[in-house]
């Protein structure tokens, strides 16, 4: 499956090798005009193992009595929406700050700033580029 390496900003072409619904390796993409078949050590050898790590988050977590505990999406969305709305209503939209991700897709980033500006009503939107 042709895609793009998830590490630095070079954007090397990466071929993910899939077998039985799991990643089994990565290979360089010779069709990429950026990397023309090259990959560095991270793209070649560190782009698949973390994906199937047993430590991946697999369900939402909510802090109860000081501990993060398993929750449903319904509960998680409900709580986040309720608390964000309450803070916006009592302290104003600028009491909320959203930090987007230089690791996530363009589409996710676009929706993050749309959530900030159109839904919450603040320009307090930034991303990890600055730091």
């Amino acid at each position: 499956m042709p895609t793009v390496c998830p590490y630095c900003g070079t954007g090397c072409g990466l071929q993910l090798l899939v077998k039985g619904g799991r990643l089994v390796g990565a290979a360089p993409d010779f069709a990429s005009p950026v990397s023309e078949g090259s990959l560095c050590i991270k793209g070649q050898f560190a782009s698949t193992e973390f994906v199937h790590s047993g430590q991946r988050l697999t369900h939402p977590l909510i802090r109860r009595n000081g501990m993060l505990q398993k929750a449903s999406w319904e509960q998680a969305y409900g709580l986040v929406a309720e608390r964000l709305a309450a803070i916006r209503d009592t302290c104003g939209p600028d009491a909320i700050a959203l930090w987007s991700s230089a690791r996530a897709t363009n589409e996710a980033n676009y929706l993050m700033q749309k959530l900030a500006r159109a839904v919450i009503g603040t320009n307090n939107i930034d991303n990890c580029a600055r730091t």
């Binding site: 900003g9 988050l57 600028d94 959203l98 996530a104």
Partner: protein, 530 residues
């Protein structure tokens, strides 16, 4: 980047500044090596003896934080010796006389004193840069992560404008960006001042366009940058923080300050793929799909939008970021009915002139498209400013050398500078889970010059205590001449054992708020004998 990665091979002169390219951007470094093979001159400007120095014709090991003195002196020499591009300067720029006046004091001799370089090397580099047919400036965070980061970039840009090294194949000013979609995050408007496509949020006609598309008012009040928001949480003015995909308490400068702020927030939501050190502080953690589990696009450092493809399913109940944000928006009374990321992209392209001609259909071709791409039949733009500066005229910047905010003193006599290493990445959430990588670099290392190590009777491999005004960590020493005397280096890849950013300073650039991660004062002590 003003230019494309592949153009680097065709540069005849490469000025690489504050960039450990072979380690942080190894595949781009291949292009640099290729350029050298094809006859280009390579000058490396870096206080550390980075690997790229091996391939360089000249290494300029300036003192940390003295970039402006060097580049202003180079510009001084270019003007003094009449080496600038008279046609380009006359037709495309404004303010040469003011620049010449401003640079009067930046003689090579003055810059030599400030930077620790020889005046002769400064003059030679200026002459070679100006004489080169296609000179390209390449820089990374060694330039920007300073309190004078923006001015550092402007002093480099002066050189490109003076010599007309802009708007042609293989020339230009080229920042190498460190994260896969750091370019895209900015392009998409995840900055307080800009809506998608760098359309300014303080302009009423821009807001009106987005208000019409989104059906909601867009605030005109300026927003907070991330580092300012951290301060405002501690002052009680910001109550909620929502973080998507960032291990902030490990990656950001002055970590104890950041952690205190996130712990003080009334609501902290973290959306990520692992329970990072930051997610552990959250009230709500939302499990996200990773890059191999989503459809979408990333934009690389040369403005190239490329397709990311879903190869496997996310684990458990984890969901793609775009879907989580859409569903949450619905709970906040703003339904988003996107069925696929391509529908989100279509909306972006419809609202952003620089991306208007890019569609998922066109992105099926290998390599994607480079913006600006204003229409469906536009081939994309490999290099910017081909018809002169995008802004009409290029303006020279009158900037002065300012030393780093924190200089070494009797109590903290060494300068700590930070960066990445080749086989580990950032906070280690991904590379830290690749088994073989622990063999390559098992733990943090403090790189220290042999002279400094001898003065403190520290042996290679010995564990020491490093202290700054903000924190303290233990770390093993690697004695190496990669570090100049008086300067030590650490990465920040091993927060469990050595949390480097407890030490770093959050003194900031006045314009961008970027912290000075490249320089803070520290003390190194032996553990025994304390």
């Amino acid at each position: 980047m003003s230019n494309s990665i592949r153009e680097m091979e065709d540069a005849s002169f490469l000025l690489v500044v504050g960039s450990n390219t072979t380690e942080t951007h190894p595949v781009i470094a291949l292009r640099m090596k290729q350029a050298v093979r094809k006859g280009a001159r390579l000058v490396v400007v870096d206080p550390r003896k980075v690997e790229l120095v091996r391939y360089a014709h000249r290494w300029l090991p300036l003192h940390i934080g003295t970039d402006i003195a060097l580049f202003n002196a180079m510009a001084h020499v270019v003007i003094r010796d009449g080496l600038y591009n008279t046609t380009y300067v006359r037709e495309k720029t404004e303010g040469l006389a003011a620049l010449e006046e401003h640079l009067k004091g930046y003689t090579p001799e003055y810059a030599a004193q400030v930077t620790g370089l020889s005046a002769e090397a400064i003059v030679q580099t200026a002459h070679e840069y100006a004489a080169a047919d296609r000179a390209s400036i390449v820089y990374t965070l060694g330039v920007t992560e300073h309190t004078c980061g923006t001015h550092n970039v402007q002093s480099l840009a002066n050189l490109a404008i003076l010599t007309g090294n802009l708007g042609r194949w293989g020339t230009g000013v080229n920042p190498l960006r460190g994260q896969n979609n750091v370019q895209g995050a900015g392009d998409m408007g995840c900055i307080p001042t800009d809506l998608p496509g760098y359309q300014k949020a303080d302009r009423p006609e821009v807001r009106a366009k987005f208000e019409e598309a989104w059906g909601r008012p867009i605030p005109s009040r300026p927003g907070l940058t991330k580092v300012t928001a951290v301060d405002q949480v501690l002052k009680g003015r910001v109550k909620a923080v929502y973080i998507m995909g960032e291990n902030t308490v490990v990656s950001d400068a002055h970590a104890s300050h950041t952690r205190a702020a996130l712990e003080a927030a009334d609501l902290l939501v973290v959306q990520d793929i692992f329970l990072t050190e930051t997610a552990q502080l959250a009230h709500v953690v939302l499990p996200a799909a990773c890059y191999a589990e989503v459809d979408g696009t990333f934009t690389n450092t040369e403005r190239r939008v490329q397709r990311v493809r879903r190869a496997v399913e996310p684990p458990g109940e984890a969901k793609p970021d775009w879907l989580i944000l859409s569903e949450l928006a619905g709970r906040l009374g703003y339904p988003m009915a996107y069925r696929h990321p391509s529908e989100v992209w279509d909306e972006v392209a419809g609202l952003s002139p620089i991306l208007a001609g890019i569609s998922y259909r066109r992105l099926e071709q290998a390599g994607g498209l480079q913006w600006p791409c204003p229409s469906g039949d536009h081939p994309g733009t490999p290099y910017l400013h081909a018809d002169g500066p995008e802004s009409g005229k290029a303006y020279f910047s009158l900037v002065h050398h300012v030393p780093p905010a924190e200089l070494p003193d009797a109590e903290f006599p060494l300068v700590l500078t930070t960066g990445r290493r080749r086989s580990t990445y950032h906070t280690g959430t991904m590379t830290g889970r690749a088994s073989g990588f622990k063999l390559l670099v098992p733990h943090e290392l403090l790189e220290m010059n042999p002279t400094d190590a001898a003065a403190l009777s520290i042996a290679d491999g010995e564990e020491v205590l490093v202290t700054s005004r903000r924190g303290q960590v233990k770390v093993a020493v690697k004695v190496t001449d990669r570090s100049p005397e008086g300067t030590v280096f650490m990465s920040f890849h091993f927060p469990d054992s050595t949390h480097t950013n407890l030490l770093t300073s959050d003194a900031r650039d006045l314009i961008t708020d970027t912290p000075e991660l490249k320089a803070c004062a520290v003390r190194v002590e032996k553990l025994s004998g304390r």
